[in-house]
């Protein structure tokens, strides 16, 4: 007789792993299935920015709690609280910055506007072509490459059964629960959590659910090691640049510029026409980058729904099935929202509300 788990979790990114650990700790029997490796999806290739300045206003309370979780995870994930500056290079961006940062401050982020002089005192290598700057002392980063190692070690020391190289290709439902199929073995569970990241649309389709999910193909680049050039996380008023210098001296340049490819074929591709302006924007902010070389650029998939808010809750038309994903800034928020998700599944009282996946989606653009 195959074991009937309390819950099967599909996807071994931050969302799947952190929820699995929370549920196992509360006494549930958990199986986690990952098609590739633990923490090699978005959770393992993202830019690692933990910045309140780039979080959405409505998600700020979750981001604040998320920061707290990362702080606890500490050295094992390369967490550093550096502080962060967001730059505006012209009047239009200055206006955008003011509008946006004021709203984020009202939502609870410790953001202030500072003078270019203060910026240049603390970051002498940043361009002098600055019109406005905001600062948040709570901003920092973690090393996303360590996500897999971190969660794998925790899973190894927990009661969670996890299997890698185990893609779920079919799900049968009955009143007793779910039969999840990989190419080889099948597993039984009373509940199901979809945490498939950029592949969520395909995962939901296994339950005949069509969600309006789109995968974005975000790009990140890294330079060779360099003597210290910046100490803070550097962002741009539009949110389209993130830059940080890691402890080893390499500088990571991101900002969500779009590569090519879809989650159905491979890991996405770096696109010359977007990676080049991304790096140019970085070099505009930090002219000294010109002395360095890019040693690698890569992409990862991030799922979004039209309103760009998370899918986090019970899937209305399938009893005992849950979904957690499409979280903008999901690296920052992941460890926290996963705990909320766990509490929701356990029937505990929630500290903050989740995001009903059965809502009507309206387009938020910009």
């Amino acid at each position: 007789m195959t074991k009937n788990y309390d819950i099967a979790i599909i996807g071994g990114g931050i969302m799947g792993c952190a929820t699995a650990l929370h549920l196992a700790q509360a006494g549930m029997s958990v199986i986690l299935l990952e098609k590739d490796d633990i923490g090699q999806g978005a959770s393992g290739v993202n830019a690692g920015t933990l910045s309140l300045q780039i979080k959405r206003v409505k998600l700020m309370p979750y981001a604040l709690k998320g920061h707290h979780e990362w702080q606890k995870m500490g050295d094992k994930v390369g967490f550093v609280k550096t502080g962060g500056y967001t730059l505006a290079f012209n009047e239009r961006e200055a206006k955008l910055l003011e509008e946006r940062m004021n709203l984020k401050r009202e939502a609870g982020a410790n953001i202030e506007f500072v003078s270019p002089q203060i910026l240049h005192k603390n970051e002498p290598n940043i361009t002098k072509k600055i019109v406005a700057v905001s600062y948040c002392a709570d901003d920092g980063y973690a090393n996303s490459s360590l996500t897999g190692q971190y969660y794998r070690n925790l899973l190894n020391h927990s009661s969670v059964d996890y299997f890698e190289q185990s893609q779920i290709i079919k799900i049968d439902q009955s009143d007793k629960g779910f039969n999840v199929h990989t190419a080889n073995p099948q597993y039984k569970a009373k509940r199901l959590l979809l945490a498939g990241g950029g592949w969520m649309k395909q995962a939901a389709a296994l339950l005949d659910i069509d969600l309006p999910i789109q995968a974005r193909v975000n790009t990140v680049s890294v330079t060779e090691r360099s003597p210290k050039l910046i100490s803070n996380v550097i962002g741009h008023a539009t949110g389209l640049l993130t830059m940080k210098q890691k402890a080893n001296g390499s500088i990571l340049i991101g900002g969500g510029w779009q590569g090519t490819g879809t989650p159905n074929d491979g890991r996405g591709k770096v696109h010359s026409q977007t990676v080049i302006p991304n790096i140019q924007l970085g070099q505009y902010a930090l002219p000294a980058l010109s002395a360095l070389r890019i040693i690698r650029s890569w992409t990862g998939f991030e799922a979004n729904v039209p309103d760009f808010y998370p899918l986090a809750g019970a899937l209305g038309n399938v009893p005992n099935a849950y979904i957690l994903g499409c979280v903008r800034g999901g690296f920052t928020i992941g460890p926290y929202i996963s705990k909320l998700m766990g509490d929701f599944i356990l029937g505990n009282e929630l500290e903050l509300p989740l995001f009903d996946p059965n809502r009507q989606f309206t387009q938020t653009g910009k």
């Binding site: 590739d36 490796d37 633990i38 923490g39 090699q40 393992g44 959405r56 206003v57 290079f89 955008l96 946006r100 072509k129 490459s145 360590l146 996500t147 897999g148 190692q149 794998r152 070690n153 190894n156 890698e164 190289q165 330079t223 060779e224 008023a237 539009t238 949110g239 389209l240 969500g256 510029w257 090519t260 491979g266 890991r267 591709k269 770096v270 010359s272 026409q273 977007t274 990676v275 080049i276 302006p277 790096i279 140019q280 924007l281 070099q283 505009y284 980058l289 010109s290 002395a291 360095l292 070389r293 890019i294 040693i295 690698r296 650029s297 760009f308 903008r328 938020t364 653009g365 910009k366």
Partner: protein
Amino acid sequence: MSDFDLIVIGAGAAGSRAAMEATKAGAKILLLDEQAEAGGQVWRAKSPSIISAPKTPETIAGDKLRSDLKLENILHIVNARVWQIEKNNDDLWNIGYLNNGHLHNVTCKAIIAATGAQERVIPVTGSQLPGVIGLAAATALFKQHLTTPGKQTIVAGCGPLLIFTAYEILRLGGKVCAIISLNSKTNWAKASIDMMTRPDLLWRGATWFAKITAARIPIYWQSTVTEIIGETHIESVNISAIDANWSATSHGQKNNIKADSLCMGHGLNPAIEATKLADATHIYSPELGGWHVKTDDFGRTDKAGLYAAGDNAGIYGAGAAPYRGKLAAIAALQFLNIGKTQNTDKLVAKMKSAAKFGLATTKLTILRKGMIENTQQTAIICRCEAVSRQQLEAEISSGAHSPNAIKSGTRCGMGPCGGRYCNDVAALINQTISGKTRQQIGLTTSRPPIRPLPISAIAQNFDYDDLPIPAPAPL
């Protein structure tokens, strides 16, 4: 509209021939190579500062290749380093390259990747010390600069480059203290039977051996370097006899030999970054040097419009490379609908016959399974990021199995070389723990730039207002 019908990446033995063949047939082609002159590895040109030097079969063949290229009026851009290969919206190939500090983008309908091979070195403690270089790297030093690696050199490893390197050092007036050969005399005797296909080359090999014997250089057959000793520079080398699996035996003969330099190499790996980036299928075959792009005799990969010729499609050697280049050009021309069809049976037969010699030499470099046992726990596997065998083993034992996962957790392969030199060894270590085949273990994801890209070239004369900054992220 594409800029070119065909772009050939690599102007070595294979790529140069491919370029000539395609040009003759009337295709609009571009030949790109990161070196200052055509010739690739075997036929590498001398540095222009060296005016006169005795001719060798390599320089003669190389000079001929270079003058042939000029005669054909081929658009050959030297010092052109390809960093990116992608498909554009019109289903054309888009190739990004760096030349004299500037970035260029060109499009084409077909690509022939002829990127050659790179050296494999299985490290031991001390391999990273200054004074230790690869065998192939040493031959490049001889060819380009006519200098020897030190005053007292030990030459170690396997295959023909071992003997060639020792010979070249002697020819250039250097001193070889010892040759440490993984291969046995019998291995060589067996290989020479297959090498009969090229009596001229076999004869050359025999003259190398003769020169080495005449110079009374001690050869330690069936032996390996187990440790390289020195504070800030190599001072001496520990060697040991090996068993049939190439593992140092506990009871076998051990020695310590003083030297100020060591040339050590363990065969060649196909240089597959370009074809990986272009998404072609790759396969692992030890008799072809390990992971290589999968092709038929005509260099067709499983990607439409992508061809491969030369050592990157398997170490068939310098003799077969021009034929493989020509065959790939014929297949590409067919795809492009240029020129007329020709009977290629003879050419294929010639290629196969030439390949016999190369395959026999590659066979001498197939690593036996005990070889990796000679690499100590403290030995540095990834030199860019200083990752030891111990760190890799801990990561693999804790459950990281795929090359990507191991790389993420340890940084092995994250440095400037992009894992070109350590991925192979990391996978050998992975095998000892996981028991998987190399094919099952697979490769890391290929990412651009395939060569480090100076930001100074990217961020030249751009106007901030022209940056295509997308709409701001949702608030």
